[in-house]
């Protein structure tokens, strides 16, 4: 059943801006860093001369984290809006499929699309590094960490945005909350560790990024669970 739901979901995002944005996000970040490194090549290679790849990956993730959070906000809202626009919920949920599965399908679609974005970011970083002649000694583990850990750590925010976007017909509220959250996260370095908007930065008192990832995954899963139950319980608008 869930595979059929996903097939239908992918059909519905055809000809939407969603797919374009999934490409635009990582390519925008890589493009900006290409510009940055291209312009200040001599200086930046001097600063990072001991670890050229590390310098590049760090610079990329500085841009990619806020981009990711903005992306989460916009993508979830657009996915929900496909059904909101002509109130297709009443048609969709009068079909013999469980509401829980429909909602889970939306979550899966969002997570899959954002995963593709992260993957593109990793690939783009490698291509850029090679073009900048940083050698073939690529720190793959570090690269994968920096591309995927922030995404995994922001699962609670993904869950929150999907929940808000689907529950509310007026997208102004989820968009505002998402954008404010993304901005907040830029300045969250000194926030206490329990603030979820700090988790994507992978900074915590223990200095272990994996802690941010784990707490993000657990909280995210919990929120997904609660939102599925809430969606299932509510009358369809």
């Amino acid at each position: 059943m869930i595979t059929r739901i996903m097939a239908s979901e992918f059909l519905k995002i055809r000809r939407k801006m969603i797919l374009f944005l999934i490409f635009l996000g990582p390519f925008g970040v890589i493009g900006l860093q290409a510009f940055n490194f291209g312009l200040r090549y001599d200086w930046l290679t001097k600063v990072h001369k001991d670890d050229l790849w590390g310098g590049l990956i760090g610079a990329v993730s500085m841009l990619s984290i806020p981009t990711l959070l903005m992306g989460v906000t916009i993508i979830t809202s657009m996915i929900a809006n496909i059904e909101h626009q002509t109130n297709a919920w009443k048609q969709l949920l009068a079909l013999p499929i469980s509401k829980k599965k429909v909602f889970t399908g939306k979550i899966l679609l969002t997570v899959l699309l954002l995963f593709v974005s992260c993957l593109l970011l990793a690939v783009g970083t490698i291509v850029l590094g090679l073009l900048l002649k940083f050698g073939i000694n690529i720190p793959l583990l570090y690269l994968i960490k920096m591309c995927f850990f922030p995404f995994l750590a922001s699962m609670p925010l993904v869950a929150l945005q999907i929940w808000l976007a689907i529950t509310m017909k007026n997208q102004a509220v989820p968009l505002t909350i998402g954008i404010v959250g993304a901005i907040l996260s830029l300045y969250s370095t000194n926030f206490p560790d329990w603030v979820p908007w700090k988790w994507p930065l992978l900074i915590n008192d223990w200095g272990k990024p994996i802690y941010s990832v784990l707490v993000g995954l657990v909280t995210g899963l919990l929120l997904f669970f609660i939102s599925v139950i809430d969606f299932n319980r509510k009358d369809v608008k």
């Binding site: 239908s8 626009q85 002509t86 109130n87 009068a94 079909l95 013999p96 009358d235």
Partner: protein, 304 residues
Amino acid sequence: MSNVIIETNKLTKTFGKKNVVDNVDLKVRQGEIYGFLGPNGAGKTTTIRMLLGLARPTKGSIHIFGKDIQQEKYSILKKVGSLVEYPSYYGHLNAYENLEAVRILLDAPKSKIDEVLSIVRLTKEAKRPVRGFSLGMKQRLGIATALLGNPELLILDEPTNGLDPSGIIEIRELIKSMPKEHGITIIISSHLLSEIDQMATQVGIISQGQMIFQDSLSKLRERSKSKIKLTVNRAESAWKTLLSHGYTTELMQKNLFINNDSDDQIAKIIKLLVQNDFSIYRAEEEKKSLEEIFLDLIGLEGGL
């Protein structure tokens, strides 16, 4: 007696403190076209949403195909096609893709898409984005979507709302042909009796959440008690004369109205008037139209 397809028992939905649907006992039998009538805000859409499992009843029960919707929602919905209020569609997709998005979920054969497109006569428009469709075309696409799963029961909420007369006729013909050709049972809501009196076999009339009439359309017609209208030269004095002889009549716009109860009584009244030298210009029967009966019914209950 044929099979009961839909049966609700004291179905109630409360918003705030108001019973928007109030102890409704709805009964639809196999092969019927059931007209679900009521003025704006009567509770038709709310009832239909509950039938489809989109909203939970505050009280009461719903059985469709003899199964309780609370317990066997999905096995019921497999055999139900629906169209609720204005049509739902994905504007950026064409008609074919819209149907495909639902077909995948129903796991229906691909050939079904062409079939339903041709039933609603949209085959030629299948590759156009639905955003550019006229309201009538969108409504037809909605009906096509409802037919995708080979339903045994079609639930249509105001499918002719906002359509022009030719669009209404088109949808009406489409709906009328279905029980005959496909053996489908249909419940269709409307706020105009005239819109469904040419296709419905049964009617349920709901007003302010309460079911105030539920029977065959012919039973509703019988309700049209006719009156005899007399046009006489001196109406007021004729009225007084009749009253003094024990006949109560209604005096309206210089016409006398007599309840059409017995021929004998009418004859006596006319005789009396003639004997008292009144000139009778006309004596005619006045029958209420179906729409008037409907308005009377909901007017009585609703105090409009």
